[in-house]
Amino acid sequence: MTAAVTTAPATVRVRRSQRSTRVGAPLLGLAVLVLAFLPFVAYTTVTSTLVTFFILLIMATMWNLLAGFAGLVSVGQQAYVGLGAYAVLWMSDLGVQPFLGVFLAAVVCAVIAIPTSLLAFRLRGDYFAVGTWVIAEAYRLVVVRSDALGGGSGRSLTTLSELDQTLREAGTYWTALTMVVACVVGSYLLLRSRLGLALTAVRDNEVAARSVGVDVTRAKRIVYLVSAAGCGAAGGLLLVSTLNVRPDSVFSVQWSAYMIFIVVIGGIGHIEGALVGSVVFFALQQALADYGSWYLVLVGLVAIAAALWLRGGLWGALSRRTGIRLFPIGYRVDRPS
């Protein structure tokens, strides 16, 4: 990567960060710090609402990584949401503390994603999308067959309910916050690495990328595993925050709908897009809470419109107009004026 800098003509500066980044990064750090102190000062209703938001943000970030950067448009990430939730449940039966279980669930999902990817990667494009969905359905039907995990009607997580409620809420909140930071910062570092460069090459021209020696399948598989891990953690958080799990809802394609809508509205292929989209989606969900599922009709229509007319989503439009980037994963070439 340094080679690109040294070979550039002397009159040109190549850099990654810019003013918005240098201001943005400490601001984000500060925001995380403030958020970390929240359980000491705020009501649990605030923190539990934020947990719901964090779960959405994790899922959206993971889907964005998968679809926006690796070009793997999946409608089946609910497989890992469901498996993550059940992994926490299963490990808690074995005596693993559920908060720790959330982290382990991410690992379990990444491991399950290895053989799954071997099958799913046989499908291309749109067929990958529906194929992953079928795989998610298959996992749901397998889980449903286990009586120990509660079968079709699901089960409760009992080990956590023994904990004091305030402590439990705070623990859930901190776990969720840690996972959010891990997912967002993790995606950022992943995309800045050589792998990110390989993915950009693949996105621009897959054939050309292959011909210069990029191992395209390996790059995509790594992203798929990371995304499975993140969604697994999100599923684990769902269980820890609601204390019970039903296979129909935790394996529901609804999760994919949320992820897709958030990212498409916020800006696919921008790390900031998942953040912006989550805020918009969450605000709509809360504002229209009294109107049943109308918010999904609205969000669906907005997402269709964004897919057709606003292809970089809200963040793409903002960033194009103002040049602001919070997570600089590319390089900027400047000619000193």
């Binding site: 749109d126 194929g131 079928v134 999904l296």
Partner: protein, 288 residues
């Protein structure tokens, strides 16, 4: 004898799957679109027939006569209004648009008709059955559905191979720009293909609704049946889709014979096995 019965029922059920899947197969074959709203459109058709039958008091069979043409028109409009734009914006846009459509249709139905299960009442057609032997009897509805599926597939195949419009559809699918050079307006041609696909979706949705109950949330799982039939049979081939539907129907009924809880899983596992060992499908086609 139970097993023979299971095979017969499986083939008949497969006819329904094939009928349902041919719209998905057609849109993929002609435009390379995977319509994620496919299942929800079938459910929408069922609710439309239900509403027509309830409001006007006509029988559900007559409602079919209304709903199918309405869906053909709807298909043309959806293409010209949405899909045409999304095709120009790239494959990701098309996927997102059809998925968005799926969620919108699903939740509109949920808000208008509630989450209750409903059935389309076609009277004796469901209950009456034909006794073949002492152990095997088939319902008239299942036989009718199977014949309808065969008829629709043969009809579509004849349309594509024998009529000028059908040839133009195939030509446009091969090379849209070259098709404009022989005077075809690709947007109109694709609109016609979408209209046909929507009409078959409506027909299949109504047959589903006559056979078993439906609710607004059932669309996605129905889509999966159609998708499995298309992939098992082989992408882009209508005959493949027919075979795929029947194989899926057989797998489900035979598995149900062993343990009813295995019904759906058997279909999914068959699909995954085809992916693993014969990704081109059972009857792969060069083109439509």
């Amino acid at each position: 004898m139970d097993w023979v019965n299971a095979l017969v029922q499986g083939i008949l059920l497969g006819g329904l799957y094939a009928l349902f899947a041919c719209g998905l197969s057609l849109l993929f074959g002609v435009m390379r679109i995977v319509n994620l709203a496919h299942g929800d459109l079938a459910v929408l058709a069922a609710f439309l027939a239900y509403a027509t039958a309830t409001v006007t008091g006509v029988s559900a069979l007559w409602a079919t006569v209304v709903v199918v043409p309405v869906f053909a028109v709807l298909g043309y409009l959806v293409h010209r209004g949405l899909l045409e734009r999304s095709l120009a914006a790239g494959p990701l846009a098309t996927l997102l648009v059809t998925f968005g459509l799926s969620i919108v249709v699903q939740n509109l139905l949920l808000e208008s008709f509630s989450a209750d299960s409903r059935t389309l009442d076609v009277g004796s057609l469901v209950s009456a059955s034909l006794r073949i032997t002492d152990d095997i009897s088939v319902s008239y509805l299942a036989v009718l559905t199977f014949l309808l599926a065969a008829g629709v597939l043969v009809g579509l195949q004849l349309f594509l191979s024998r009529t000028q419009l059908g040839r133009i559809v195939r030509a446009t699918s091969d090379d849209p720009e070259a098709a404009t050079l022989v005077g075809a307006d690709s947007r109109h041609v694709y609109g016609i293909a979408t209209a046909l696909a929507f009409a078959t979706v409506a027909l299949a949705g109504l047959m589903f609704a006559m056979r078993s109950s439906f609710d607004p949330n059932i669309g996605p799982s129905r889509l999966i049946f159609a998708f499995e039939a298309v992939v098992i049979g082989g992408l882009g081939s209508l005959w493949g889709t027919f075979v795929g539907g029947i194989v899926l129907g057989l797998a489900q009924t035979v598995a149900a014979q062993i343990d009813p809880a295995l019904t759906l899983l058997a279909g999914h596992l068959l699909f995954l096995a085809v992916l693993a060992f014969r990704p081109q499908g059972l009857l792969p086609a060069r083109s439509m």
